[in-house]
Amino acid sequence: MGRRAGGGRPGTLVDMSEPQVVTVRGLRKSYGTRVVVDDLDLDVPAGEIVGLIGANGAGKTTTVECIQGLRKPDAGRLSVLGLDPVTQAARLRPLVGSQLQESALPDRLRVAEAVELFRTPRARDGGELLEQFGLTARRRSVFSSLSGGERQRLFLVLALLNRPRLVILDELTQGLDPAARRNVWAAVRQLNDEGTTVLLVTHEMDEAEALCGRVVVMRAGRVIDAGAPADLVERHASTAVIRFSLPDPPAGLLDEVRRLDGVREVTRSGVSGTLVTVRGHRRLVAYAGAVLVRWQTVPADLSVWQPSLEDALLGLLSADQDSVDQGETAPDELLGGRR
């Protein structure tokens, strides 16, 4: 694909018309002989929630660790809040709140003590944050006694405590139950509404769709595409499927459906061909629904399968692999989706 977030190249001028909180050009990082991040460009505009997605081992966590100044890049130029994470890490880190993957607190540290330990003079009210994330009752509990979800919520409290200008969240809702996930999402949206920029590393595509204005897809240490979730779905998984039963379809109805804009295929299956399946571009859903209503044929069992960001990611990754393997891009296919 070769599409780049921000589109810049090392050594070229960075477009500054939009204020960037994070600008990365030509980032490269290897562990021994294994290249983990390879000539990566990335922009995170101020005030946005940007998602970093991709398969395991794509280099997402290493990228955000370099952005935070926790790892030293082998090559590349990074600017975070106008500071260099390598040479100005001490000034940068207090401005960045982070929820790191695979990290912990001392086992015997109590929740309230953790808040006290991590707070700086510009900190928000720790009690309010604990209340917001449902941890007030656990104030005196030691870290080792917290459940996985409670630990994640505590990390989020600590990430938000010092009014950061940029928040980096790596696997934000790992281990959270659905209600806690929604609670955390609401907090991230609220944070963003208050003007904080968020860089979200996630495997949860529904999370990226729910929160991110823009997602960046990584594979093998490179950005292979970027854009709004809907745009990625449009580009890489635009096929929708409608299914309904019509035991005795009126003459001409299915022909009209076949002629609809975006329809690729109409098939009949099941007993006596009563099950109708329509495949095509996502916009066919509205057109097909309108036709069925106009023909006064409204099946009770009509179901719609819409492609999701997950399908787009899978399509994109498989297409990218195919292009690597065969030198051409595979057509997108419906690889799951949602009703």
Partner: protein, 244 residues
Amino acid sequence: MSTVGRLVRAELRLMTRDPLVLTFVFAFPIVTMLIIGGAFGTKPDPAFENINPSHWYVASYLTVVIAATGLVMLPVHLASYRERGVLRRFAAAGFPRWSFALAQLVVGLLTNLVACALLLAVAAPVYGVPAVHDGWRVAVAVPLGAVAFVSLGVLLGSLLPSARSAQAVGLLLFFPSFLLGAGGPPPRVMGSVVKQVAGPLPLTLLTNAVRAPWLGLGPATGSLIGVVVLTVAATALAARRAAL
């Protein structure tokens, strides 16, 4: 409160909740001092340089506390933090890397101070605390040794990959040092080979630098110089590892 101040306060709290610290640094030296201090009676004995054996061990056991802190408590603590990503979290939150090492130095020294005071407080009514003959040498050797062993602890904790390996290596270093250099038999009853092995051990040098001037057995200048060299080397290496 400063970053180091907040870290020191948190680490001190955690230390009081850590069973390894409570047993190994506080309880173990006291219990073994009580046992071995009573094993040889209280009559001056030629094997103990004509010193009351109980007093010999009371004067020796301050360095056991120091060694337990530096060879076991700190390496396990630090390696566990690194293994579990605690140090990474501190770093990401803006704690300078050196601040944690400095906090460990302060905590290690305070632990030594409290544990040594407790040891003497327990020894006093049981065996009595022997009079200090050469106070300034003892006053120099004890804090120097404490800094040396805390630095060794920070160094080991920064090198060993996991809490388990730190515990294994720490115990392997501690017990031979303890038996040969502080809490075991006096050098006079050791065979020549064992004496040769024991002589250059850091804990032997420190114990000798504390015990000899304390009990009036000589200035032990050679041992004190050895402790100074150890302190400088261990602190420099630890500072380099911790980017101080």
